[in-house]
Structures are given as C-alpha cells and as structure tokens.
Symmetry: C2
Subunit: 402 residues, 2 copies
C-alpha cells in the first residue's frame, strides 16, 4: 500500500456549479498537505448526463450506442477541464485527463462497458511531477479506439480501479456522510458504521443500499485497497470499507430496503421442470432479472409459482405473462406492485445459527407478515406489503442495534 | 482528384438545434446519391463554444489553455454524436470521429494550433465500408496526446485539410450563399462570383471579407483542391474557389470592408531608423498587428508617422503609446477610431497598369477623401472616414461591375 498516494472521487452534485467546484478544489488542496500524490476523479456537472441523453432521444428514437458514449462522455470532459483550471489558478499544478488519456481500457457493450485494465504510466508520470491528476470518471476507450462509458456508478468504478492499480486508498466523497446500518431517513437512531467488510458492503449494495455500486466494492475487495466513504460537504468522519475481522462479531451489520420491487404469482402452473424452466428462460431472454423465487404445490401436478423482479421491468414482464397466459389457459396471474424487499446483512450470520429463526420470531411477534424469503450466506431478504415497511425497519434496527 | 469523394462542412448555425441537424442530415443523404464517399465536418451547435468559454472565465481569471482546448472541444463532440445518431436512424450508416480519432495531428500553442498532418487511414477505412464519416471540426491532438483546437475558422480548416489529404473537393455550407464581389448588405446590386482564384479569395479574406478564413484557402491552394462555398439553407448555386485563369481578365474581382480599424498618427516623431524600428518592435512585442504604415517628413529630423491596426488591440496600443509619449516628450499622438478600410482585389491588376490611378480619380471625382493607401500585387486598400464608407462601396462597385 502506498501511503503517500490517494485517489479522491467527487460526484455530480459536488461539482454542479463553478462555486461548488471551488469548494471541491479547496478540499483537494487540503489533501495535498497530507498526501504527496493526489489523483482526483470527477463526474459530470449535476444533471449534465441526463440532459445529454435527453438530446440523444430528440435526435433519434434508437440512438446508436457508440455515439451515446461519445456524447455523454463530454460531461466529464467539461468538469475535469474546469476543475483543473480552478486548481491551476490556485497555484496548484494540475492536469486534466480524459478516460482515454488516463489509459482506461474497457471491453464490453457500449454504454455498459467494464474496465479491463488501466495503463497508469501517464498518471504516474504526472504524479511524479507532483501534479494533481484530474481524471474523467465513467469513461474509457475500447480496442477500436472508441470512447466508452461504464454505466451506473461508473465514476466510483474509475476511482477504485485507479486506486487498485496504484495500490493506494480510494476516497469516495458523496451526499451522505458514510454508511449506516439502516437508512437514517427510515430510522432516526440509525448508527453510522466505522468499518464494514467488502462482503457485507457488496451484499448491502446488491440488496438496494444506494451509497455505492457493488462493482467498485468488488474491485476494492479483489485488489485489497481500502475504500473510504465520506461527505463531500463536511469533515465528519465517514466509513471504511476494507478487509475486516471483528473480534466479537455482530450478527447483523445492516438493513437495506428495496422499493422498486414487484411480485408475480402464477396460480396453478404445471409442476413440470420443463415448463418451469421454459418460463424462466423466457424471462431471462427478455432481460428480466428474477430475484426471489418460491413454489408451492397446490394439487395434482400443479403449483403456485411466485417470483419478484424490478418494478422497472413491468412492461417486459407484462409481455412475457401475456404470452404465458395464452399458452396455459388454466392459470391465473396475480401482479403485486405494493411490495418492498427488506434485507438484513451480516457476516456474523455465517457463524451464528438461528439468525433466521430469531428474525422470523421478531416479525411474527410484531405481526409483520411477509411473502417470500431468500437467504444467502450473509443475508436474509423478505418481501412484504409496503404498509409493513416502516415497522419492520424499526423493529429490526432496534433489535440488532443498527 | 477523386471524383467519387467529397468533404462537406456545416457551421455552428446550421447545427444549432436538433431540427436544423435533421435538415443537414437530409442534405448529406442527398449528396450520397452523387458521391460514393462522403465525409462531413461539423462545428459545435450554435453558440456552444462561447458558452463554454464563459464557464472557463467563471472558473479562472487566467484559465489554463490546455484545459480550454479540452473544454471547448466537447462542443464538436456533442454535435458529431447527435448528427451521426440522426443519420443512423435514417438508415444511412454513419460514424462519428473526434479530431483525435480522425488522426488530425497538430502543433503550436494551445487554442491556436495548426494542422501538421492528418493520418486519414481510419477515415478511409470507414469510407471503404461506405459509411458517412462525421468528423469533429476545429480540433486535433498534439505530440503529447493532448486535445488541441485550431482557433478561428478552425472547422473550415479541418474540412479543407481532410479534402487536401483525400484529394477531393471541399464544400463549405454557410449562412451566405456564395462569394460576392461586394457585401450585398452594402451594395444591393452586388453580383455573386461563380469562380474566384485562390489568390483573390485569400486577399479578400485577409482584407476583411468574412466568408472564409485565409488559412483554409491557403491549404486548398497548396493542395490544388477546389473549395465550393454555398448556402446551408437552400440549393442555390454557390462559388468555386480554385485554380482559375480568366480568358479576359476583369480588373477588379471584389471589394471588402474592414470596420474594426483604428488609425494612430504620431506627430513630430524623430526621423531616425533606430527610433522608428524601436517603435514597431515594441508594437510587435505586444502582439499588435500593424497593417498600413505611412510616414511624411514634417521638418528637420522629424516625421509624422501614421499606422492602422485592429481596433481590438486598443488596450495594448494605449499601453505602448503611453510608454512612447514618456520617452519622446515633443510628440503628439492622435488616435482615430472613426475609420474604415476599403480594399479592392483582383488578379487583373497585375497585368493592367493604371488601376490605382483609375481608383484615385474615381474617389476624387466623388469627393471621397482617404488617409492611408497600401498596395499589394493584387489589391489596393484605403482608409477613410466611416461617413464615406457607403458612398465608396457604391461608386467602386458600380464602376467595376462587382
């Protein structure tokens, strides 16, 4: 680990205006007092990316994705240029690098690229000249020399990937001041977590906590570099995501809520593997990510099949269901948009049995009914009616001291 | 000359909105009916470049020029992306290339770069696949891999330089529908020129006609490729700029007016070469381009020294003059902002003597007084009071049938 080096990342809302950029510049300059070499990764200013996508929509019904990448990548190019001008004006030598110039090689589909490798020679060269290197987040280039973008959470991924290659700490400055065991807007007494393991953080992100995308945590995990999440607006101490073995492990570290969930129940579906497989293949072909699945026998050769998916996929799901309803005349289809998914996460579950039982009892004691349950090694998720959400959050958070 | 290939260029006002881009796309598609291979060069949408420069000014008093280039180059990146989406949506395969991707190598100072060479292999590859290649005007990259821009008229330069390398015609689509002997806003009966030689066009551009920058005409001249200037808004026939020998040469081809002129007269300056040289060196050091110079002896060892310069340089000129006034206590300095420069251009002058005399007489007959006169091989320029401008334009245009 290089202790004299750091990668700082600032999101779109932190560089929304020139005024806010000035404040970000001050924070960066302060950082140079304790770190000799500073890399800064920035997103596009405020809502720029959405505005550019809006223009693309006006230009074409199905805009070519290569050109979408070329278009939206201008957002970060603008913000790195301006931030660098500000730093230079404050007599801190800084240099702006696009994704291409920073050597960020990507592969995959346009608008959804993944970082394959980073040639950090240019970044390191400027760091050795003691320049603050300001890198455009969210973008890179592919083997054809096309400009590419990284999709959701792309700037976090850029920052953590650069830190991984440079073997130094990544600091993510954001609108929240750290990671909480449970969303403070839902539970007033929510406690900030000082340190959380990569695994727990990944699980929480997958389950709906929106502070960071799981991709960047995965990279941090693989390259063993600590990620520090803190407020872009104040100096409060944030949360470290890193390799972490607790002496006395807490059973549950966090609780996360996913609101954009829908539940589909197919009543009296045939209980044959080939029919069930055909249904899920069809859902997959239509790019619908099925999350939780439950099947219950209802009679001779028949089952009730329930699954959850993202409410964003409603249209695609409707299409598949119409098709299914034509094929199987005897079934009934029930869609429920009125559900939330409540998940609890904790590496402690692995070693302590009975967490599920403890949770079941807790919910039952408080008359909170749930529909589907899934468990992973370090998490348990329940879908329940929206009306139970607040009560479930409070009961669980209180019980486990989140 | 490749007859199956063409480079079309559209300026900022032609791609100001998505709607206008749709019309540009139609014109491009129509062009593919007669040319197999079409390259399109576009500027930034409308006033984008100025808006970005405004942001830079807010960010820093002296924004770093490398980052100004990076910032303003996003303007063309946006317009090529959108135009390409529109072409693709209309089922014409198109591909957008930034200056870097198009292989446009530049050298010089940031914000004022010159094209050194173009590696057209990528452009040609896509043309061979029968793709419309949409290239960002105004930008390139330097030996460090930095993004660069070409300064005023940069997109014209990009278009003509690509045409020069591909050895095909360049077509510049603009707000005017061709080159006129005299500005139609000043002389209602102005005639459009069908064909004009590179030399005449260059001279007119240098002397203030704003249709095209002299740089791009120079490139067309050097590589012997015809440049066609026509309206972006209608199908009227425009003007060809090319190698052109007229059978019966017209004496005067065009008249151009330069309004941003100031005249400085220094009364009783010492008539010694070293003092005069020192003055002009000082002006040059302050990046003031002196245009016309006149000196008249006034007495023993004294002269009146008059020169013109761009009114944009007023501030720098004032500084130099203050310094001069301190050094030479006996002089008087008169600044006149109320002048225009009227220039007549024609390769015919070279072979016909007496054009200057004819013009002097014409102006005298109409009581039009002038201050300074300069002549080149194919032009004569006069500075005169602004009040004489309209009359001079009409008299000269009428006399020479412009």
């Amino acid at each position: 680990m290089n202790q004299d080096m750091v990668v700082m990342k600032f999101g779109g809302s932190s560089v929304e205006t020139i005024e806010k950029m000035q404040r970000v510049a001050e924070r960066i300059i302060k950082k140079t007092e304790t770190f000799e070499k500073v890399v800064v990764v920035v997103s596009a200013m405020g809502k720029t990316t959405n505005q550019l996508l809006e223009l693309a929509k006006q230009a074409a019904k199905y805009p070519s994705k290569r050109e979408i990448d070329m278009l939206i990548s201008t957002g970060e190019q603008v913000s790195i240029s301006l931030l660098t001008m500000i730093l230079n004006e404050k007599n801190k030598h800084a240099i702006a690098l696009t994704g291409f110039q920073a050597g960020i090689k990507t592969g995959g589909l346009h608008t959804k690229n993944k970082i394959l490798d980073i040639d950090t020679s240019k970044i390191e060269g400027f760091l050795n000249e003691r320049k603050i290197v300001v890198v455009a987040g969210f973008q890179g280039y592919n083997e054809n020399g096309d400009i590419t973008t990284l999709g959701r959470g792309g700037s976090d991924t850029t920052a953590v990937a650069i830190a991984a290659k440079l073997q130094c700490q990544a600091e993510i400055y954001t609108d929240v001041d750290g990671i909480y065991g449970v969303d403070p807007r839902l539970y007033k007494e929510a406690k900030k977590i000082d340190v959380i393991s990569y695994e727990e953080m990944k699980e929480m992100a997958f389950l709906g906590a929106k502070v960071m995308e799981p991709r960047s945590i995965e990279i941090g995990h693989r390259y063993h570099i600590p990620i520090y999440v803190a407020s872009a607006h104040n100096d409060e101490i944030g949360t470290y995501i890193k390799e972490y073995k607790k002496v006395e492990e807490k059973t549950i570290t966090g609780l996360s809520i996913s609101e954009k969930v829908m539940m589909v129940t197919i009543v009296n579906f045939p209980a044959y593997a080939k029919d069930i497989a055909a249904l899920f293949i069809k859902l997959a072909e239509n790019e619908i990510n099925v999350d939780m699945i439950n099947q219950t026998p209802t009679g001779e050769g028949l089952i009730n099949l329930a699954f959850t998916a993202s409410a964003d996929d409603l249209e695609a799901i409707n299409e598949v269901l119409e098709d299914i309803a034509k094929r199987y005349q005897e079934i009934d289809v029930i869609k429920n948009m009125n559900v939330v998914k409540v998940s609890v996460v904790g590496t402690g579950m692995r070693t302590q049995s009975g967490v599920a039982a403890e949770l079941f009892k807790l919910l039952a004691d408080h008359h909170i009914e749930f529909n589907l349950v899934t468990t992973s090694e370090i998490s348990i998720s329940y879908t329940m009616d929206k009306k139970h959400k607040q009560k479930a959050v409070e009961v669980i958070s209180h019980h486990f001291g989140l």
